[in-house]
C-alpha cells in the first residue's frame, strides 16, 4: 500500500462469513461504585464493521476492553468468537487485537524488534514484519528505536502490529486521535483490508470513519448502549 493512495470511497466487498463474533448479554462493569458499562447487550455478526460513538467517558473503551478480555465484566455474560468471555480468555486473545490509547511499545527496542516480540508472544511468523512496516510507511525506520518516534509514528507502528497479527476480531479505540491526513489513510486502509478478509471490526471514535467502511453504528452514553443504526444485528438497552 502506498500512503498516497486515495481514501476508499466505495464499500469494499466483505468476504462472506457467517456466525456470531460478539454476543454480550447484560454486561455490566463497575469501577468501585461507578458504572463503566451498564447492562450492555450487543450482538455482532462475523465480518461486520461497527462504529461505536459516544462522548468522553461514555463507556466505549470499557466495552472494547471487556470484549478484548483486558477487563472482566462485573455482571453479565457473553461470548467472543465462540469463546466464553471469562473462561475462554486465551482463545479470545489468540484471535483478537485491541489497539487502545497506549501503543504497547518498548522505547529501547527498534520498530522491527517490537514487532518480532509480538510475533513470539502470538506464535506468528516474523517473515511478515517488513511487509507490515511497509504497509504503514515505516519500513525505512525498522531498525530505529521507538523512543525517538513521534506520537503519529508510534500509532502507525501499532497499526503495523495489527496488520501483522491480522486478527479475526479487531478492536480499535480512537484510532484517528492525533493523526494527520496521511496517517488517517493508513487507518482506513487497515479497516478496508480487514473488511475484505472478512474480519470483524469494532471501532470506537469521536470522529466518524468513512461511511463506506462501516456496517452499523452503535451509540453509547453513560455506560449504556442507547441506539443503533444499520441493517443487521441488534443492540438492546
Amino acid at each position: 500500500m502506498s500512503l498516497g493512495e486515495p481514501l476508499v470511497r466505495t464499500r469494499p466487498p466483505a468476504r462472506p462469513v457467517s456466525g456470531t463474533a460478539v454476543a454480550l448479554r447484560g454486561v455490566t462493569r463497575l469501577f468501585g461504585a461507578l458504572p463503566g458499562l451498564v447492562r450492555a447487550t450487543l450482538h455482532v455478526d462475523r465480518g461486520e464493521t461497527i462504529w461505536l460513538c459516544g462522548p468522553n467517558g461514555s463507556g466505549k473503551s470499557t466495552l472494547l476492553r471487556i470484549i478484548a478480555t483486558a477487563l472482566s465484566p462485573t455482571f453479565g455474560e457473553g461470548t467472543v468468537l465462540g469463546h466464553d468471555l471469562v473462561s475462554g480468555r486465551i482463545g479470545i486473545r489468540a484471535r483478537t487485537d485491541l489497539l487502545g490509547h497506549h501503543f504497547r511499545l518498548y522505547e529501547d527496542l527498534t520498530a522491527a524488534e517490537n514487532l518480532r516480540f509480538t510475533c513470539t508472544l502470538h506464535g506468528l511468523d516474523p517473515a511478515g514484519i517488513h511487509a507490515a512496516l511497509d504497509s504503514v510507511g515505516m519500513d525505512e525506520v525498522a531498525d530505529v528505536r521507538t523512543g525517538g518516534f513521534s506520537q503519529g509514528m508510534r500509532q502507525r507502528l501499532a497499526l503495523a502490529r495489527c496488520r501483522l497479527r491480522d486478527p479475526d476480531l479487531l478492536l480499535l479505540d480512537e484510532p484517528y486521535a492525533g493523526l494527520d491526513v496521511d496517517a488517517r489513510v493508513v487507518v482506513d486502509d487497515l479497516l478496508a483490508g480487514a473488511r475484505e478478509r472478512g474480519r470483524t471490526i469494532l471501532l470506537a471514535s469521536h470522529e466518524p470513519p468513512p461511511p463506506a467502511l462501516i456496517d452499523r453504528t452503535v451509540s453509547i452514553d453513560g455506560g449504556r448502549l442507547t441506539g443503533i443504526t444499520g441493517t443487521t444485528g441488534e443492540a438492546d438497552r
Binding site: 454476543a23 461470548t79 486465551i90 497506549h102 513470539t120 486478527p167
Partner: protein, 260 residues
Amino acid sequence: MTSVTSRTADLGGARTAPAGVTGTAGTAGASRSTGVVRIAGVAWAIAVKDLRIEVRGRYALVSVLPFAATMLLAFGFALGPGRTLLVQTAPGLLWLAALFAAVELFHRSYQAEADGGALEGLLLAPVDKGAIYLGKAFAAAVQLLVLFAATTALVIVLFGLPIGPRPGLLALTVLLGTVGLAALGSLLGLLAVAARSRQAALPLLVLPLVSPVLIAAIRSTALLTAGRTDQVGGWLGLLAAFDAAFVATGFLVFAHLLED
C-alpha cells in the same frame, strides 16, 4: 437475539497455535512437550527483551550500581577504619546493598512495562503467564549477578573481604541468593506497579518475605569468607529450598496477579 453457539472456525491465515489454545490432534504427551517448549520460548523472549532494554538504557549502570556503591561507602565510613569489624560486617553489607539495589531494579523492570501500556500487551498475549514470570525473573537474576559482581569487587577493595578457600561454594551462594531475590522481586514488582503507592510499596512487600534468603546468603557468605565450610551445606540447602518455593509460587500465581 440470535442464539450463540460455540464456534471455532478460524477465519485467520496460517499461524502457529499459541499455548493454551485447544488443538485438534496430537497426544497428551506431545501437547505437554509442545507446551513446555512454548513456555521456554516465550520466557527466553521476555528475558532477552528485558536484558536488551537494560543494556541499551544502562539503567542499572547509571542508577542502581552507584546507589549500591554509595551505600557501601556510607557503611564503610560509619563503621570506621577498623579492618576486623569491616571484614566481619562485609558479608551482611554486601547482601544488604544487593537487596536495596535489587528493589530499585525490580521496580524499574515493571515500570518499563507499565509506562507504554506494554503490560496490557503481555496480559492479552495468548501465552501461559508463568512464562512471562520466568522470563522476567531470569533477566532480573542475570542483572543481579552482574550487579553483585561489581559490588563484591568494591567490598573486596574497600573492606578487604577475603574470597576464602572455596570460591566455588561462594559463587554457588551468590547464584542461589540472587535467584531467590529475583524470584521474589519479579513477582512482587508486578504488585507494586499496580499499587497506588507504587515504588513505596515494593520494599514493604519484598523485605519481610526475602528475609530467609537474605539470612541464609549472609550466613553462608560469612562462613566461606572466614574459611569455614562446616555449616555451609545447610545454609545452601535452605537457599535452594526457598528458591524452588519462590519460583514455583511465582510461576503459579503470576497469572492471577496479572489478570486482577
